[in-house]
Structure formats: structure tokens, C-alpha cells
Symmetry: C2
Subunit: 341 residues, 2 copies
DNA sequence: AAATATATGGAAAACGTTTTCCTAAATTTG
DNA sequence: CAAATTTAGGAAAACGTTTTCCATATATTT
């Protein structure tokens, strides 16, 4: 039925192994023979059977991307697809494909990863830190199975991971504010139980303090990350006797609320009051004016993860360290260099 | 190195073919033998090599999901991941995996699809209507290659597709408004070049007219889908001598703007003015009050696509028709049953 | 001119299953 | 009780490549 390497060999008058060598650009084939083979391939419209190649090479050219998938995933985790796209686009360069695998129904963390490794259905594995346990982690390290963990795992190991650093992003926020000459800055955060919010707050407050601009307690407000509470927070801050010159909003939803609150006061941004926020998604696109953002680009994080994966695929014994994706400042119109009078 | 079916056979004292039959639940194996084999499998911690199974079965148990992937994909196409998750979760039930494949760099529509089919690297293909051409389409049909097209292709064929119906969603909007006794309704749409916007508008205006509530030209405003223009549109509408009782917003960004505009007028929703919008993503989550939404759930669309795919995988000769994902009304607080006085 | 090195391409094993027969034993039937 | 049927399990082919050797022919060196 389907045309195989043998058909090509017969038509070209060579052996199947020669065809294979031509296909894989071996140097031991003369240009003349190669041309004959290519001619036959063209005539027969031959494509190697990927399943047979996988089998013979003992490699699927597939990488598994494990994450917990639920209904409305994009809503709950707007970043995951971006990470995945970054990984994909990097792996694609070396002809690897990315398989989306759900880890949400596993009975213990690491079950899915284990299955993939033992089945050998993928050459490598990209997995969220929460979907892996210590035993599988150690297995990955011991077997030198190419892997990269998104977000560092909550157990110590010699796994290779890549993570964001939200405290650092908080420090970036402080640095930007100070560089604009805003030294009287407030912080509107999310819930105190929200780890990311807490880290950003710590980084921000820490660096402000280090520069000598300690942020008073009254300039730090925690909300439920809703637009309404954030707007109220902005109104509270701006009605103080000593209102802040700028506000750091812990996420884009808060920023949307804060910008709304500011609008209500009639003050103009950034002339009277400046603000910045973190993350491009999901809401910064509808905030007016276009906000200055400290962004941790998830696509870039995916690209980095992909690069690490490619290196590990090439050399599984490679001792690769772990990485942190650096935040990036996206200058918008909600902050500007301020010539304080 | 790795333990194979032969090791299991040797330990269990049977032939490899018997082990295979046990693995695949053949009925021609006695319970006693099966137990012996399972025992050996357990002892050796054996897992069949997926690459070898793929090869022997001539099936990869992989389905390719083709879409044009770019940087910031989630931002540009917030729906794609939801569709993908829906497809995934459905396919997972029959142990199929989903491979994410980029079609953005192909030199002609259908190139990527062709490659996958000729390589036999997937058992089926889910592809966006824009990433396929007529010749590949006909090839899919002729070869009975399991496929499902997301969004119907722009050429006629006997392909199997699944699509949304935005005109129908527009009709749903009209129906809901009328059922609330809002008969004086305005429409704020996107650009006239935006196909989805135009379809929703046509459906909405059409049904309003059919019910005898023709919407005057002056109650239809086109914007660039920005928050600013949408807010301005709302202000324009509400300052007319005969302002609308309700507004249909063509997308969530417009709805965000309209709600902002309404807020500026000081009118209350839905007491004085009602509105509804389409799509849950990306912005409806931050609109206040919680809007009534005509939603076309993309995850559900993916689930439907996955179901069709499973049926085609089981029986490739199946003549499956194409499907339309129906819109769903999500009642929010921006509309209510109105007792007009 | 003989000896050695190099270039080219083929034969055959290997990859690890599944699946199609086929056989021998066990069971049923007349 | 013999013949027919059913059952259980094994032998071997098949799936389509890659890759390791090996053989031959040609080129190079002494």
C-alpha cells in the first residue's frame, strides 16, 4: 500500500541502506548515487514512516508537556499556554513536537510523569513543579531523563528547573519608581494568602527601604484583587493628607481598579498620580492610560525552558543548573520621569 | 538494558506472544496463565515500549492539533487553548495524546497537515480552517484520514468541521432582550471589517426586525473595539432624546467600555439601562455589574471536536456531518425581567 | 608493481511489539 | 468410544527503518 524505503531502493537501483544513508545525509554516499535516490524519492513521493523511524532510532522526537488541565483552563491559568507556545517554538527548531498531557487526574504527584518515562512515549518531559514528587524527581535525575521543571519543586533535589522571581519583580518596581523620582509610593496588593502578591510586596518594600524611602504601613493596602476593592483602595490612598505620588498595583486586575479609582478623583495620570502594575495578562490591555508594567514574560520563560531541554536532549549527562526568568520593564504612559519641584 | 516482553515471557515460562495477549486482554488465555504473566510483569516492573507498540500497531495514539502559534499567542487568541483543552480531555478518555503543532511558518495552507499525514506521525488531525487548503482537504476526505476542522474551511468539500455561529448568537441576544421586555435596544459593534462583529450584528438586527422592533440606524454604533470608543458610544447613545433601554455589546472589551460610559452618566444597571455582551473571555470577568453573556464556550467546542474525532478514529469510513456549537445564555446582573410601566 | 589506505555501497541484524496462522490437548458430540 | 469441535498457547512473520559491519573497487604510497 504505502510506499516504503524498499520501493525507493528498487526504483533507484540501490539497497535500502543506501537510501537511508541518503535520507540522513551520510557522507559516504557519492553525489551521483544520492541524486538517483532523490529522483526516486520524488517520483514515488516517498516520506519516511515516522513510526518506524521512532522505533529504529529509539526516540520519538516528542516532548511531553505536563500540566493540570481543567475546564476553562485559559481563564484559570492564562499563562500556561504562553509557556507552552514558547517551549514549542524552541523545540520545533530541532524538529521535536510537544504533547499536551493532563496531570490533573493522577492519584499522586508524579504518576503521569512516571508513566511517560516507563512507556518511553516521549524523549523528554516539561512538567509543572506541582505535578511531580520527590521519588519521580530522583528517578529523572538518576536516569538522566531530559527534563525541565516549571516553577521549582517543593523538595530539594538535583532537578533542573526554571522559575520566576516575584520578589525580584517587586524590586524592579521599586527601582523604576525611584528612578522616576517617585519616592512616596503606595502598594495595593492581593490577599495576604496569595504567595505571589506577598513576594512582590516584600521585594518592593524591601528595596524602597534599602534606598531610604520606607513605605509607611498606611500606604500598603491588601484587597481581594477585585476591581471594586482596588478602586476603593485608590480612593482611600488619594484622600489621605499625605497621598502617595505613585501606586504599585500587584496585578492587572488591581491596576484596572486603581486606574478607575484615580479617574474618579479627577486626577490625571501620570501628571498628578502615577502607577505601575505587574503582568501583561490578562487585563493590562484595557487599562487607560497604557500602564507601565513589570512583566515576567511567560512565553520567554517557555523559550528558555525549551532551550534547556534541547541542550539536555543533545547531551543528557549535561549538568545544567536552574534558571530564573528575569522581569522586564515595559514603559507605558502611567509613569514618567518626574521633575519634582 | 530495559526489560522487554521477552524477559517477562522467560520469567513466566510462556512465549512472548502469550504475554502480548495477556497485555491486550485476549480471551484465549486461561486465567491461570494470565496470573503467571501478571506476576512476572509485576516482578520485573515491565511497561510495554510505546515506540514498539506504535510501530507494530501502525498507530501512534497521537492526534495532531494544528494552529498558527506566535509570540503572545494567549493574548492574540485567548480561545485556542480552551479548544485544545476540550479536545485533549475528550481524547484522553481513549488514551490518545494531543500534539501541539505550529502551522504559522508554512509556505502554503495545508503544508503542515500534509507533512503529518505523509509521515504518519499522528492518527488524526485537528486543524484550524485557515491552515488547510482544498487539495489537502480533498486528500483527507479521499484517504479517510480522521480529521476535524475548527471553523469551517473557505472552500466547499466533504470535510468534517465544527464551527461557531455568530449570527445565531446575535439572534440569542435579541431574543433575550425581548424576553426581558427591552424593545428599544442599541448595538455597539466592532469594526465593519470584523467578520464576527458583522455576523452578530446581522443576527441581532435581523431578529429584532422580525419581532417588529426594528433597530434604528442611530442605535447602531461601530467602534474600534477599544474601551475608550465604546465608552464614548455609550455616552452618545444615552444622551439621545430617545435613548435605548438596553445595549448589546459585541465583545467583552466593548462591554467594559460601555459599562464605564454608563457609570459616568450616573445611571444604574439594570434599573435604568441594561446591557449584555458576548464571550466570557477575556474581559467579562472585570465588568461591573456581572454582565449577562451570550457565550460560545470554546472548551465545549473542543469537547465536541474531540468526540467527533474519537468516532472517526474508531470508524474512519464514518460519514460524519459537521457541527455548530450553540451559544449559551449566562444570566448576569446587567439585565433583568423588566415590568415596563 | 606491490602494499596500503580510502571511498562507496550492500547484507544483515537490530529495534520490541502484534498478529496470523498452526498444533496439541481438552472437551463435546453422535 | 471415536470423531468432531473447541480451547490454549506457541512459532514465526510482519511492521519500516537504522546502523554495524564487511566487501569491493579505486586511489595513494613506497
Amino acid at each position: 500500500m504505502a510506499v516504503t524505503i524498499n520501493d525507493v531502493a528498487r526504483l533507484a537501483g540501490v539497497s535500502p541502506s543506501t537510501v537511508s544513508k541518503v535520507l540522513n545525509n551520510w557522507s559516504t554516499i557519492s553525489p551521483a548515487t544520492a541524486e538517483k535516490v532523490h529522483e526516486a524519492i520524488r517520483k514515488l513521493d516517498y516520506t519516511p514512516n515516522a513510526r518506524a523511524v521512532s522505533f529504529a532510532r529509539q526516540s520519538t522526537k516528542n516532548i511531553a508537556f505536563l500540566t493540570a488541565i481543567t475546564r476553562n483552563e485559559a481563564y484559570k491559568n492564562p499563562h500556561m499556554f504562553d509557556i507552552m507556545c514558547g517551549v514549542h517554538n524552541e523545540l520545533e527548531k530541532e524538529n521535536y513536537s510537544l504533547m499536551l498531557i493532563d496531570s490533573s487526574r493522577e492519584t499522586y504527584p508524579g504518576e503521569t510523569a512516571e508513566k511517560i518515562i516507563s512507556q518511553k512515549s516521549a524523549d523528554g518531559i516539561v512538567v509543572h513543579g506541582s505535578a511531580i514528587n520527590e521519588s519521580v524527581g530522583n528517578y529523572l535525575v538518576k536516569r538522566q531523563f531530559p527534563h525541565i521543571i516549571i516553577g521549582h519543586p517543593n523538595f530539594s533535589s538535583r532537578l533542573c528547573w526554571i522559575d520566576t522571581n516575584h520578589a525580584l519583580a517587586g524590586e524592579f518596581a521599586a527601582e523604576h519608581m525611584i528612578s522616576c523620582n517617585y519616592t512616596n509610593v503606595a502598594f495595593v496588593g492581593g490577599r495576604k494568602s496569595d504567595l505571589i502578591s506577598v513576594q512582590r510586596e516584600r521585594g518592593f518594600l524591601g528595596l524602597m527601604g534599602k534606598y531610604g524611602y520606607r513605605v509607611p504601613q498606611s500606604h500598603v493596602i491588601h484587597t481581594d484583587s477585585s476591581v471594586g476593592e482596588a478602586a476603593a483602595a485608590a480612593l482611600t490612598l488619594l484622600s489621605k493628607k499625605n497621598p502617595p505620588r505613585a501606586i504599585v498595583c500587584e496585578n492587572s486586575q488591581i491596576a484596572l481598579g486603581v486606574s478607575k479609582g484615580i479617574e474618579k478623583t479627577g486626577k490625571s495620570v501620570p501628571k498628578d498620580i502615577a502607577f505601575l502594575t505587574f503582568d501583561t495578562y490578562p487585563y493590562s490591555g484595557v487599562i487607560e492610560p497604557k500602564p507601565t508594567i513589570i512583566d515576567i514574560n511567560m512565553y520567554d520563560m517557555g523559550v528558555q525552558a525549551g532551550q534547556v531541554m534541547l541542550r539536555k536532549l543533545e547531551n543528557p549527562s549535561l549538568q545544567v543548573q536552574s534558571y530564573t526568568t528575569l522581569p522586564v520593564l515595559l514603559q507605558g504612559e502611567s509613569t514618567e520621569m518626574w521633575e519634582s519641584s
